[in-house]
């Protein structure tokens, strides 16, 4: 039995949890989420470098919530999303256990936000180089080139909303794109509809996105979606000095202000 499985077993054995969400091998040779509701299935629980999905996306699903006591296997991005949704009043301290996987792959049990905050501080990683390079490349383009780049990318979008489904922060019961009075965003996968959707998605995640990159990985047509939010978070860090997912009492930068915020762009 691995250390991970040991921790899980103990949680079941002492009755702390009714459901554990972790990773297991799937028939395609990859990994997928596994929902374990009794200790008999614990031997299927694994963790390796292929386990990237942010399992916190399941936290708000009613099907999961009804189990009551929960545990999640989470790595750094998952833990950041825990703190972010905590700051958004979606999870309270003690609502779930977290089996945190550190950068060397070792599991440990975290129970409160304070421990999570410490864990995140001690396990900081750099964002993937590829993403940063692409971001820099786009920023170095002329405006016309950037527009062309994104028009091309967005034209691929088939409005499958996989980006929304995998995002742990897209938990609204009513998404703006589903509203038809008024019809904010055209439902068809037309150029304008696609552009509106991706701008709206980015703005709704600005200052909230914790950078797990799931949206990009889930996208069936490979639009580098995480760039939009990553670039916005960069602006927010520069303008306001805020970074989401670091503290449970994080103050959303767009609903707070400082008198001295810069306004050199305002006439």
């Amino acid at each position: 039995m691995t250390e991970l499985q040991n921790i899980a077993k103990k949680l079941f054995d002492d009755g702390s949890i009714n459901l554990l969400i972790g990773y297991s091998n799937n028939e395609n040779g990859g990994t997928s989420a596994i929902f374990i509701d009794n200790s008999a299935d614990i031997d299927k629980l694994i963790y390796n470098e292929n386990c990237h999905q942010n399992l916190m996306v399941y936290f708000q699903k009613p099907e999961v919530k009804k189990f009551g006591k929960l545990a999640f296997v989470v790595s750094l991005p998952g833990l950041k999303s825990v703190l972010e949704i905590a700051s958004e009043n979606q999870i309270k301290d003690g609502d779930a256990y977290f089996i945190a996987i550190d950068k060397d792959g070792n599991p440990s049990l975290l129970q409160d936000f304070h421990q999570i905050e410490d864990f995140i501080t001690n396990n900081q990683t750099k964002p993937p180089m590829g993403l940063l390079k692409l971001m820099e490349k786009i920023n170095n383009m002329t405006r016309e080139e950037r527009w062309q780049y994104w028009t091309d990318e967005f034209s691929k979008c088939i409005k499958c909303y996989a980006c929304r489904s995998v995002c742990p922060l897209c938990y609204c019961t009513q998404c703006i794109t589903d509203i038809n009075i008024p019809q904010w965003i055209s439902t068809e996968s037309s150029p304008i509809g696609n552009l509106d959707w991706h701008i709206a998605r980015a703005m709704h995640l600005a200052g909230r996105c914790i950078g797990c990159g799931e949206c990009m990985k889930a996208c069936p047509v490979d639009i580098p979606l995480a760039l939009l939010t990553a670039n916005l978070n960069k602006s927010i860090a520069i303008h306001f000095g805020d970074e989401p997912g670091m503290k449970a009492d994080y103050k959303y930068p767009l609903s707070h202000y400082k008198l001295e915020d810069k306004e050199n762009f305002i006439r």
Partner: protein, 665 residues
């Protein structure tokens, strides 16, 4: 299906001279849903209103768009018209084709097109309007009057005499304001203090008035009928209840050389002082910055000599919160000092004084006991030059307006000087004499004809000192622009009246608007001259613009009557422009909560039948919400909306911004 009527007003020639109103009506008639469209000379007139009423009946209209002036002008008028025909008044919108169109553009097709576009935008809004019903809120029948000059005193007395409570706050140690500093008043030359001090006493003794001197507004929350004001009662270091006003402390204070504010710094006062003998309240105050005790802890002369034991060096500023239903702002004005004028010596010549300083020299309660003596050597000046419009009406000085009172008080000064120094000479440099007012022109003529005051029409370019005389170099524009040089003993500048230096920050605390000179702005320059744009707050006196005493008093009574009218109702009707939340779609992220400046967003727990909490959602307190809509723009799931500016309404407006020709083919 909406049945909308469009009514285009010519506003006489105001709109019709540049906009083809008939054509706008014709274009509007083709908008889907518009079943009636017409134009008329004066839509706000009685026949105009009847025209709308008749059309509502005849065409069974469900909504109305009036293309006329700014909604800030006539929206209530037309909403009333619509309501009188049984339609919810919020189905009436105004398209601003006057201020935003006909007045700012030349006559032509494009201007007409803009008017038509504006109508179309509002038609789309009306199509998506929903019936709204006024909100009733209780009224606190207590007024806060800020400023205890003649305007504040008058407003307080009027409101209190109508049977309402008044809290009058004054930032100085005594009420009275500038009027208490004046010697005599124009055009009657009656003694200023003689007519003012009875009013001051009346304030102090009035059972309905709570006087808080040496106090300032710290902050203000709430809205009409329900303000919550926090007042800073500054420590005067005197126990006001123990103090009997004997004044022994002021006599015993060893510090005696502090420039006296009440005497416009022409005299001196001690560190513990009553600003003037008739002060109300007649209680001293310790000037902490100049008091030896506060500087090094050594002196306590006042304390040891106070038989009442009223001196309290440990007193602290107090913050007092009061509930009030209405506010009258009567904070008055100040004047530019002589240091504002490079050409008149930057204040370095002692014998160049301001009008207010000269007023103190004329006053029998002033530092010279009413004898005109010049500050430098105490000699009686035999030649006094008065300079009117010092700073005022001068774009180069940044003060383009007329200070209004200077022509009259300069004439008064010259006259009073001549009465006191009959062999003296008084010269007045002026630009124009503005003596509009009852008996004002006659007063000026009296100065010229009876008192031999010498009026010189021209400006003064420079005043400098030479051999103990002030050389006034100017020009006489009536005598072929002859340069004039006058050797004067004294120069009196009628310096510009300006807003207080803290006027801007007070306006920001009160959320009232102010103009570029920091005078507070009235809601409408002609028809709502005492109200501000913030409901429940009115203006009185020179905080709005320079005014003389009769005008200030008249406006104070007007502000009081507005306040009394408000207090005559138990419940106040508020516009239902507030936010509402959709509790079924709200996910309770509460990112909206911190944007609400009124703390109107509350957490509401939704429970199932067994009392278990299903979720916590945002709920809007309709009493607190003021309808800014900031939370609406924040809500990702659009679970909050703003009545009167709903998502659907503004979205429809934007959708109708530009004409899409195919729709009308």
């Amino acid at each position: 299906m909406a049945r909308i009527g469009v009514f285009i007003c010519h506003c006489g020639e105001n709109i019709a001279s540049t906009v083809d109103c008939g054509k706008v009506a014709e274009i509007s008639s083709k908008i889907p849903g518009v079943v009636f469209s017409t134009d008329y000379k004066y839509m706000c007139s009685d026949p105009g209103q009847t025209l709308i009423k008749d059309a509502i009946k005849k065409y069974k209209l469900t909504g109305v768009v009036v293309g006329a002036c700014s909604p800030r002008m006539h929206e209530p008028t037309f909403r009333k018209v619509v309501a009188s025909e049984g339609i919810n008044p919020f189905f009436c919108e105004m398209a601003n084709i006057r201020e935003h169109c006909s007045w700012v553009h030349p006559k032509g097709e494009e201007t007409t097109q803009k008017a038509a576009d504006t109508i179309r935008i509002l038609v789309e809004k009306v199509r998506n309007n929903e019936p709204l019903y006024p909100i009733k809120v209780p009224v606190t029948k207590r007024a806060l009057v800020i400023g205890g000059g003649i305007a504040g005193i008058q407003a307080s007395l009027d409101i209190a005499n109508a049977g309402n409570e008044v809290i009058l706050i004054e930032k100085e140690p005594s009420i009275g304001g500038h009027m208490a500093q004046l010697s005599e008043t124009f055009p009657t030359l009656d003694c200023s203090q003689c007519i003012l001090t009875p009013r001051m006493v009346e304030v102090a003794q009035h059972p309905n008035i709570t006087l808080m001197s040496y106090s300032e507004v710290e902050s203000l929350e709430g809205f009409i009928g329900n303000f919550k004001a926090t007042i800073r009662k500054k420590a005067r270091f005197i126990n006001e209840e123990l103090c009997n006003g004997c004044g022994d402390c002021t006599l015993k204070c060893p510090i005696k050389k502090i420039p006296d504010e009440f005497n416009a710094e022409m005299g001196k006062r001690p560190a513990i002082y009553v600003p003037f003998p008739q002060a109300v309240p007649n209680k001293p105050v310790i000037d902490k910055d100049n008091c030896t005790h506060f500087k090094n802890g050594k002196c306590q002369f006042c304390k040891t000599n106070c038989s009442a034991g009223a001196i309290d060096f440990d007193q602290q500023d107090q913050l007092i919160t009061v509930d009030v239903g209405a506010i009258v702002v009567a904070t008055g004005f100040t004047i530019k000092g002589t240091d504002f004028f490079p050409e008149y010596g930057y204040g370095k010549y002692k014998d160049v004084v301001t009008g207010l300083q000269f007023e103190r020299l004329l006053s029998s309660s002033g530092p010279t006991l009413g004898e005109v003596r010049r500050p430098s050597d105490g000699k009686v000046p035999k030649k006094v030059v008065f300079i009117a419009c010092a700073g005022s009406r001068d774009p180069a000085k940044g003060i383009e307006y007329c200070s209004k009172i200077c022509c009259m008080y300069t004439a008064k000064h010259a006259m009073l000087y001549k009465h006191k120094v009959p062999d003296g000479e008084a010269d007045i440099f002026y630009m124009d004499i503005r003596a509009g007012g009852k008996n004002y022109e006659e007063f000026v003529r009296r100065a010229v004809e009876e008192d031999d005051v010498n009026y010189i029409r021209g400006r003064v370019s420079k005043v400098y000192e030479k051999n103990g005389k002030l050389i006034v170099r100017g020009v006489d524009t009536l005598l072929n622009s002859t340069p004039v040089e006058i050797e004067a003993d004294m120069v009196v500048l009628a310096t510009a009246s300006v807003a207080h230096s803290d006027a801007e920050s007070l306006a920001q605390k009160l959320h009232i608007s102010y103009d570029s000179y920091n005078f507070f702005s009235e809601a409408h320059p002609k028809l709502r001259p005492v109200e501000t744009n913030t409901a429940g707050i009115t203006l009185a006196g020179a905080c709005q613009a320079p005014k003389d005493i009769p005008e200030s008093v008249a406006q104070a009574s007007a502000a009081a009557s507005k306040t009394i009218a408000l207090f005559s109702q138990d419940l106040l009707t508020r516009e239902p422009i507030i936010a509402v939340s959709n509790k079924s779609t709200c996910v309770g992220c509460f990112l909206c909560q911190s944007v609400c400046p009124y703390l109107a967003i509350e957490r509401e727990e939704i429970k199932d039948r067994n009392g278990n909490i299903i979720k916590t959602v945002a709920s809007i307190n309709s009493g607190l919400c003021q309808g800014c809509g900031t939370c609406v723009a924040f809500c990702r799931s659009k679970s909050i909306d703003l009545q009167g500016y709903t998502n659907n309404q503004v979205f429809s407006e934007v959708s109708a911004l530009f004409e899409r020709s195919e729709e009308y083919v």
